[in-house]
């Protein structure tokens, strides 16, 4: 197997693994956060506005982990820095 196809294979498999494994944790975390926020809103409907705002901010924080994985897999596919070494 030559170098080019090795780099291509490693990049594509790495992108898939990064996205697949990387979204497990944020998925679990976001589910937990939404469940707790729904329970809190059901207990105290008056505090709905501040609870929703805090929920959104927290979801954005959790989600950014999954977004990092996504950006890394996009870099591996579209803007791979290792192509320069194998394609002259």
């Amino acid at each position: 197997m030559d170098k080019v196809s090795l780099v291509a294979m490693a990049s594509i498999i790495g992108a898939g693994l990064a996205m697949g494994i990387g979204s497990i944790g944020p998925g679990l975390g976001m589910g937990q956060a939404i469940a707790q926020a729904l329970a809190a809103i059901a207990q105290q409907p008056d505090e709905r506005n501040s609870l929703t705002r805090t929920l959104f901010v927290g979801l954005a924080m959790i989600e950014s982990i999954a977004i990092y994985c996504f950006v890394i897999s996009m870099i591996l596919i579209f803007a791979n820095p290792f192509w320069g070494h194998v394609i002259k």
Binding site: F56, V57, A60, S64, I67, F70, V71, M74, F78
Partner: protein, 241 residues
């Protein structure tokens, strides 16, 4: 109409016109378009404001938007929202407009380019020390970086830098990923699913604009949180007992 093809990650790569070192790419063009829509639209609406009973419907629309933004901001800061509405409201309106206009065919959201989102996050990065220093003075602001001991100084600086990076990548990743998902779905299941995903994309675009504005307000408010301590100390020193 396809401006950015599927194998291009950013609209920066689509160059419309170039002369010497001046390059006009799609991002700059649509940023100008969004700015023009916002400026001309608000100029047209605020040209003849009235406080009569029968105001125009556009004025009602504008009043609703402005009062919602002011309400959200004043809930987060103890003081009035007047200082923060120009920055945070502009960020929200710009991001929201450019995300919602995606439904127009041929429009590419400028927020799907990492350069635009990096510029917006840099504005927040500069605005945080600006508001902090103008509120509590440079001495108290710098002192915050050395709390609780001086060892924590590099961690505070790293926190500022990494949250700017997080702001950049979050907005860029969300908007760009939706364009790519819709592009892939158009190739796989053409008719119904891309439309449903596009509706979901509108929702996500508005939520991302809200999150960007709220997070920048949270960062600014965290720089101001020392203010209460300063006033508390002054009161303690000033009180006789």
């Amino acid at each position: 109409m396809e401006v950015v093809t599927l194998n291009q990650i950013s609209p920066d790569q689509v160059i419309i016109w170039s002369w010497g070192f001046i390059v006009l790419n799609v991002t700059i063009l649509y940023t100008w378009l969004v700015m023009a829509i916002l400026v001309v639209g608000s100029w047209l609406i605020t040209r003849n404001l009235s406080s009569e009973m029968n105001t125009s419907r556009w004025q009602h629309f504008m009043e609703v938007i402005v009062s919602i933004i002011r309400g959200e901001i004043s809930e987060m800061t103890k003081r009035g929202p007047d200082h923060y509405v120009p920055l945070v409201g502009t960020l929200f309106l710009f991001i929201c407009t450019s995300n919602v206009l995606v439904i127009v065919p041929g429009f590419v959201a400028p927020t799907s380019s990492i350069t635009t989102t990096a510029a917006l996050a840099t504005c927040v990065f500069i605005a945080v020390p600006y508001y902090g220093i103008s509120r509590i003075g440079i001495l108290h602001y710098v002192k915050e970086y050395f709390q609780p001991t001086f060892i924590f100084f590099p961690f505070h600086v790293m926190g500022e830098l990494s949250r700017t990076l997080a702001l950049t990548v979050r907005l860029f990743g969300n908007i760009m990923s939706h364009e790519k998902v819709i592009g892939i779905l158009l190739a796989v299941t053409p008719f119904l699913f891309p439309v449903v995903m596009q509706i979901l994309g509108l929702l996500i675009g508005v939520i991302q604009a809200y999150i960007f504005a709220i997070l920048s307000m949270v960062y600014i408010a965290s720089a101001l949180s020392a203010e209460e301590d300063v006033h508390g100390e002054l009161k303690k020193e000033g009180s006789p007992a």
